[in-house]
């Protein structure tokens, strides 16, 4: 697929919480296979911006285009499905459906978006992340580092066009932070996805040239 438009593009996004803060966000743009770092202190609306991009929140104004499609024009159910198929999200702390084992958690995005459930691919991704032997374990029995890997694996199960990472490193020490970033980049490269990292972690500042500060 040849696509000259950027994988992610936003313009004039603004949002205000009922009776609370209002935000106006700078425009974002990120090509397929590229990385974008969004830096901002606490309270600058980082998570809000990420939710707006992912379509979890609806902005008061502005446009979000992912893989050439304007997400805000979509109806709720279509948006849920589009997000599941095209956007992989990695949260600061890994969460899972506790009643399912690791492998079932991985294939959950397949099931939820209504695509073919591909357990083999789930195992392949686990192996690639070096935790292939944990497939049948309960997520809560894994170490924090392993959980973070499974969360990253889950984000790429649907081979998304865009990977959004919310503070993926801020709770980690230098070594683990570097590992997670490497892993994220590797997975983004594997699927040719645009990688957008939202963080206040200044350690990442040097690593990326394409930056936006809030």
């Amino acid at each position: 697929m040849v696509n000259f438009a950027p994988m992610l593009h936003t313009s004039d996004l603004s949002f205000s919480y009922p009776g609370g803060k209002s935000f106006r966000f700078p425009n974002l743009s990120c090509e397929a296979g590229a990385r974008l770092l969004i830096l901002g202190e606490s309270g600058k609306g980082k998570t809000t911006l990420l939710h707006l991009v992912a379509g979890i929140l609806r902005p008061h104004s502005g446009v979000v285009t992912i893989a050439g499609q304007s997400t805000l024009a979509m109806r709720a159910r279509a948006l849920d499905r589009f997000r599941g198929q095209h956007v992989g999200i990695v949260f600061q702390t890994a969460h899972f459906v506790e009643s399912l084992n690791v492998l079932d958690n991985l294939i959950l995005p397949h099931y939820l978006t209504g695509s073919r459930v591909d357990r083999a691919y789930g195992r392949e991704v686990l192996n690639r992340l070096g935790i292939g032997d944990k497939a049948n374990r309960q997520p809560s029995s894994l170490s924090t580092g392993e959980q973070q890997r499974v969360a990253i694996a889950r984000a790429v199960m649907n081979r998304p066009a865009l990977i959004l990472a919310d503070e993926p490193t801020s709770a980690l020490d230098d070594r683990h932070a570097a590992e997670v970033i490497a892993l994220l980049e590797e997975q983004a490269d594997n699927t040719g996805a645009a990688l957008v990292i939202v963080t206040h972690d200044n350690r990442l500042k040097e690593r990326y040239t394409h930056r936006t500060e809030l």
């Binding site: 979890i56 969460h95 459906v97 009643s99 099931y111 939820l112």
Partner: protein, 425 residues
């Protein structure tokens, strides 16, 4: 991977609250279904045994007791009436048929009843083996009697005095020397005959005549054991002729010829020591009394169902609070709000189904236990394992409880603010 797997998993990782909901549901369903089964079994037993018997003629006393003793054979008889006195009723043109019943003794707690062929014929009870009783001291035993006492064709036994053997009498019981011979065994019919030993009326009269001869010897010692001589086994072959008119009968089962009988006949017994009881009326009264107890139990069952409703609701609601993040996560992975709604609803339905299944098992076990208790004292079996049509309504109600209880939690999952839930964690 499907919703069922996720729903089942969610119930499994909260075993305690799941267990509580299932147990409460099971008890609610169990009691209701047990009541349904008991009601059905009892009314079947009642009606099967009444079968077109319009009235029972017997000694005065409680009409209920007369019915219980002579139709169901569970209570003591009210007393005996003279055959001569009964003639004006049983020979009345409005009476189509009168089946005589004379209570005799018992054999291993099974009642020996003197009667005619009309009695088994009226209930359409056929012989499984042998032939019908023809002479005094020949007996045909009911299916349960044969099964529990092990009596077979050609066996002889000695009866024990009284209707029911007393516990302390079992070994050294006060036994008659007259032997009964089994000439036939009835098929199982589900009627009182299953538990009776039938013999010609004369057997009972002869035993009683015999009894009176001995009455002086027996007067002072009820538990005294006689040393009988068994030299003449076939005593009934040389029995003297008995004039029925001098004898007594416990009751007559009356089938009327015209509707007027119900109105006119009672007048004929007004100033005698006899009474005419109407089975339908007594059974109706019994079911009403019984119904009161049933209603109380039903109210308890409904209360338990309500508690289980609350339990399912609280269980799902708490589980929802714990799983908010999980559910929000599923939304970010492409799961629609409707899917989450269905998931929570499914969990409620699963709880309801499990509760229903356990409840049905409970009711069957309860009924089997009750049946074994009743068998011991009344020789009636009320066990039933197959489903009862009314239990489909119970299923519908149980599922409704599951659905309604999960509706609000499901709605909250449907309406969840994903962004806020994810940010709050």
């Amino acid at each position: 991977m499907n919703l069922l797997k996720i729903a089942w998993g969610n119930l499994r990782i909260r075993p305690l609250s799941t267990l509580l909901s299932v147990i409460l549901l099971a008890f609610g369903v169990g009691i209701i279904s047990l009541l349904l089964l008991i009601e059905k079994q009892l009314s079947e037993q009642f009606n099967r045994n009444i079968r077109d018997i319009d009235m029972v003629l017997g000694y005065k006393g409680s009409p209920m007791q007369l019915i219980l003793a002579n139709i169901y054979h569970v209570d003591a008889p009210t007393g005996n009436i003279r055959v001569a006195d009964a003639q004006k009723i049983i020979r009345h043109p409005m009476v189509k048929k009168a089946i005589p019943l004379a209570y005799g003794d018992n054999y291993q707690k099974f009642r020996i009843v003197g009667t005619t062929f009309d009695y088994p014929r009226h209930y359409n009870v056929d012989l499984a083996d042998g032939h019908s009783f023809e002479e005094p001291f020949q007996v045909v035993v009911g299916a349960n009697v044969a099964a529990e006492t092990g009596l077979r064709l050609g066996d002889t036994f000695v009866s024990t005095h009284g209707l029911v053997q007393e516990e302390n009498e079992e070994e050294d019981g006060h036994a008659h020397d007259q032997e009964f011979r089994v000439v036939g065994i009835y098929e199982r019919s589900g009627t009182a005959i299953d538990n009776l030993i039938l013999t010609p009326v004369e057997s009972v009269w002869l035993i009683h005549a015999h009894e009176e001869d001995h009455s002086h010897a027996e007067a002072d010692s009820a538990s005294h054991t006689h040393a009988h001589d068994h030299t003449h086994e076939h005593a009934h072959h040389h029995v003297p002729e008995i004039d029925p008119m001098t004898q007594e009968m416990t009751a007559y089962l009356i089938i009327k010829r015209s509707a007027m009988a119900q109105i006119l006949l009672p007048n004929l017994v007004k100033d005698t020591d006899m009474q005419l009881a109407v089975p339908a009326i007594e059974v109706n009264r019994l079911s009403q009394d019984f119904g009161l107890g049933m209603d109380a139990l039903k109210a308890i069952a409904v209360l338990i169902m309500f508690l289980s409703f609350v339990s399912v609701f609280v269980s799902l609601y708490n589980s929802l609070k714990e799983r908010r993040y999980e559910l929000a996560l599923m939304r970010t992975m492409g799961g629609g709000a409707a899917k989450l709604f269905a998931l929570i609803l499914l969990e409620g339905l699963l709880l309801a189904l499990m509760g229903y299944a356990c409840g049905l098992m409970l009711s069957r076990l309860g009924l089997a236990w009750l049946s074994s208790q009743i068998r011991q004292s009344f020789h009636y079996s009320i066990a039933q394992w197959q489903p009862e049509p009314a239990e489909w309504y119970v299923l519908a109600v149980t599922l409704l409880v599951g659905i309604v209880a999960s509706l609000l939690p499901a709605w909250r999952a449907f309406r969840m603010d994903i962004s806020k839930t994810l940010s709050d964690a």
